[in-house]
């Protein structure tokens, strides 16, 4: 009588060996690529030192995908790429094709399936974004819906190369800013504008008071006695509505249906090419949430993109263009009002003033 052999529980297996997922041509030419050329907004070719050519077809994805989506792209990869594919940092899918003959049929198949080949060159890149109302508890707005609305409107710029340079748009649904949102050509950020509410009784049970106090960037949370028991109070004069306290203390909710919305930031960049990496700067402090299509946000992004397209030299990123024409002219050409909120009064804010007589009049 055989004893049932209990299967050993697997644990700490570690990262998977990526070599298993490299196509034969990639394995052969690993570290031996010579150059690449962009053939159209969906296609590029990498040429190796020995002349091998690897074609890449890129398509957009909404980042949040179904198992059926995964099977669709697997079918395409099996048909044309020996099953090999990859994703980009900006959530695109890339099909890796060894036989040039397969490039156009693959793109046709993607279009037939309703997918979006594109995203290479001087284009609006796929918008990196967060979970929003679909899956996040600190979100001040939805993410996927805003992204979908903006990309629907800017779709021509994903599939046609007609901008001075690439434009990277990013979205974060709160100031935690998952992803590299704060260094994007255009950043859309979920923003609160009212202080957290304190549920004193839940706070006593759920939150550690010292860490709640320490979570505040402006020292606006102080110890307090509520009904003779320990608690906290918020100095609403100095609170900047960042939501950091809610991240550590569930009894300080800050989401506010009537007062949450989005802010728009411009001119950030991650790459070191030409100029150093920079953070995005404030363009519009607040646009109220307006689901399902957020027309105010879409309009603001289009205004920036159109002004950039009109004013920038070939090869200039949004931030380089603004640096050249100056911020005063940026506000003039976009028509966005410059307000007191644009002057930085946080830590290191004084380093951002204009200590010179340089001015565009």
């Amino acid at each position: 009588m055989a004893e049932e052999v209990k299967k050993k529980r697997l644990t700490d297996v570690g990262p998977h060996d990526y070599n298993e997922y490299l196509s034969p041509m990639i394995k052969k030419n690993y570290g031996k690529w010579a150059y690449h050329e962009i053939l159209d907004t969906a296609t590029m070719v990498h040429v190796s030192e020995n002349g091998d050519k690897l074609y890449t077809v890129r398509m957009g994805s909404p980042r949040l995908v179904s198992g059926s989506f995964v099977r669709d792209i697997c079918d395409v990869a099996d048909k044309y790429c020996g099953g090999f594919l990859r994703f980009t940092t900006r959530n695109n899918v890339e099909f890796l094709i060894e036989d040039e003959k397969n490039v156009e049929p693959l793109k046709k198949d993607l279009e037939k399936l309703g997918y979006n080949p594109g995203g290479i060159g001087n284009i609006v890149a796929n918008i990196v974004h967060t979970q929003g109302w679909v899956h996040c508890h600190t979100s001040a707005s939805d993410a996927s819906g805003v992204v979908k609305s903006v990309m629907d409107e800017l779709y021509e710029y994903f599939v046609e190369d007609k901008l001075p340079s690439k434009v990277r748009i990013a979205f974060a649904c709160c100031l935690n800013m998952c992803g590299s949102v704060s260094s994007s050509d255009i950043a859309i950020v979920g923003t609160h504008k009212k202080p957290p509410r304190i549920d004193a009784e839940r706070l006593r049970n759920l939150c550690e008071i010292p860490s709640t106090i320490a979570a505040c960037p402006t020292n606006s949370i102080r110890p307090d006695t509520v009904d003779g028991k320990p608690g906290v109070k918020v100095n609403e004069e100095t609170c900047v509505f960042c939501g950091s306290c809610y991240t550590v203390c569930p009894a300080m909710p800050i989401a506010n249906a009537e007062n949450d919305g989005l802010s728009i930031w411009v001119g950030g960049k991650v790459s070191n090419a030409r100029t150093k990496p920079t953070f995005s700067k404030l363009a519009i402090p607040f646009i109220p949430n307006d689901p399902p299509r957020w027309p105010g946000v879409v309009e603001a992004v289009k205004t920036i993109l159109n002004a950039y397209k009109k004013g920038a030299e070939p090869g200039e990123r949004v931030g380089e263009w603004i640096e050249r024409i100056g911020w005063s002219r940026f506000f003039k050409v976009t028509g966005f009002p410059f307000t007191k909120y644009h002057i930085d009064d946080f830590r290191l804010g004084e380093t951002t003033m204009n200590y010179s007589a340089h001015t565009r009049l």
């Binding site: 700490d12 690449h36 990498h46 594919l85 980009t88 940092t89 979006n116 998952c178 979570a215």
Partner: protein, 396 residues
């Protein structure tokens, strides 16, 4: 079969040319019924303009303190399918390379053990499976482990490292980003699975200064490929580019240090003044290539705004000989990382990223703490204020 919940607002987002996430959630719901309730709750958020998730909550697998993020619906009676809607994070294959066999099996797992929804990838670079209950976590974890994959980081731990496509598909890569990303993930599994840090810590690896994974904008320790010797010039290809576009205006004039010019038809580069920004190589990839003495710059301290403001990565090690160190199992790098983590452990406070700690105690204190010498590459310029704290050892 009719829809369980009416979703007039979300239905608006099925229109338009860009691929619709609403359609993706619906497709997931066709395979995993619970996801019907996700549509219902998100529709309610669209109506109420506020999210309907409870704050955090615990979820996880035995022996791990990380890898799952707990998520509970605010309305469990109304939307029982997402009463628990946790996500499981999975360490991606380096460079995000996959094959269809693995992805199909993962899709099956996501439908069998969760809501049939996935992220490729989350902001840090994990694959995420959404909509899992705690009761399903162990089986899902074992199914994933059988495919040779493991859970990613979450909470105050080493977050899942990520890298660019590197030498697998890019001529710009100055080192093997995928190898070091994989090797260090393997090395620091314990730090990844079992949170013991003050706060999160991220490694990201980019093969060149184009920094396609945004390492210097969002990782505590960013590795950016660079080289020490001369840019290799193919003068024939330079001439071909000159025929095609205005090389003077769009390449030479945009060089940040004006370290290149033409002498006759020949391009000349003052390599000592080159800052390896990649612009000229980006514009003329057939004509210019990085030199042979390749390695990486290490930048430290990048992070998002919370708590004390966003930080960009700052230069810590101008040239790290990654290829040499790889031969010795990254001995030099591991010593540096260990010194850093010890300093952070000793002097950092809860929820303080290492960049914020450096900002608080000053770069000098940090350098002394980890045993690095000050170098001019670390600063934009020397101090312009006279408030110098002279010390005995500084005068030696």
């Amino acid at each position: 079969m009719g829809k369980k919940h009416q979703t007039p607002l979300l239905d608006e987002l099925k229109k338009g040319k860009w691929i619709s996430f609403v359609r993706e959630i619906e497709r997931a719901a066709e395979k995993s019924e619970r996801t019907e309730d996700l549509l219902g709750q998100v529709e309610e958020s669209y109506r109420d303009k506020v999210n309907h998730w409870k704050h955090g909550g615990m979820a996880g697998v035995k022996g791990y303190g990380a890898g799952m993020v707990g998520r509970f619906s605010e309305f469990p009676e109304k939307y029982p399918g997402i009463k628990e809607c946790h996500s499981m994070r999975i360490i991606p294959s380096a460079g995000f390379f996959y094959n269809s066999d693995f992805l199909r099996k993962l899709a099956d797992i996501s439908e069998k053990h969760a809501g049939g929804l996935l992220n490729f990838h989350g902001a840090t670079g994990n694959i995420q499976i959404l909509g899992m209950s705690q009761a399903e976590a162990e089986d899902a974890f074992q199914a994933i482990a059988e495919l040779g994959f493991d859970l990613g980081g979450s909470g105050s731990d080493l977050r899942t490292p990520s890298c660019c496509a590197g030498q697998a598909r890019c001529e710009f890569a100055n080192y093997d980003t995928m190898k070091i990303c994989h090797d260090l993930t393997e090395e620091y599994q314990d730090e990844l699975h079992r949170p013991a840090f003050n706060y999160k810590f991220k490694f990201k690896f980019s093969g060149c200064a184009n920094d396609c994974v945004a390492s210097a904008a969002r990782s505590d320790l960013a590795f950016i490929g660079t080289w020490k010797d001369k840019i290799k010039i193919n003068q024939g290809e330079v001439k071909n580019y000159v025929q095609k576009f205005n090389v003077q205006k769009y390449v030479l004039d945009k060089c940040p240090t004006k370290c290149m010019w033409f002498e006759g038809d020949n391009l000349v580069i003052d390599d000592e003044n080159c800052v390896k920004c990649m612009h000229c190589i980006n514009e003329m990839p057939k004509a210019l290539r990085a030199g042979d003495e390749k390695g990486a710059s290490i930048l430290i301290g990048a992070k998002a705004p919370l708590v004390t403001g966003p930080r960009m990565g700052m230069m810590l090690v101008p040239f790290y000989d990654i290829n040499e160190d790889a031969k010795n199992d990254y001995e030099q790098l591991k010593a540096l990382i260990s010194n850093m983590w010890e300093f952070w452990d000793e002097f950092g406070v809860s929820r303080e990223r290492i960049g914020e700690l450096i900002g608080r105690v000053g770069l000098n204190t940090f350098l002394e703490g980890i045993g690095l010498e000050p170098m001019p590459e670390m600063v934009e310029h020397p101090r312009s204020n006279p408030f110098i704290k002279f010390t005995e050892e500084g005068e030696e």
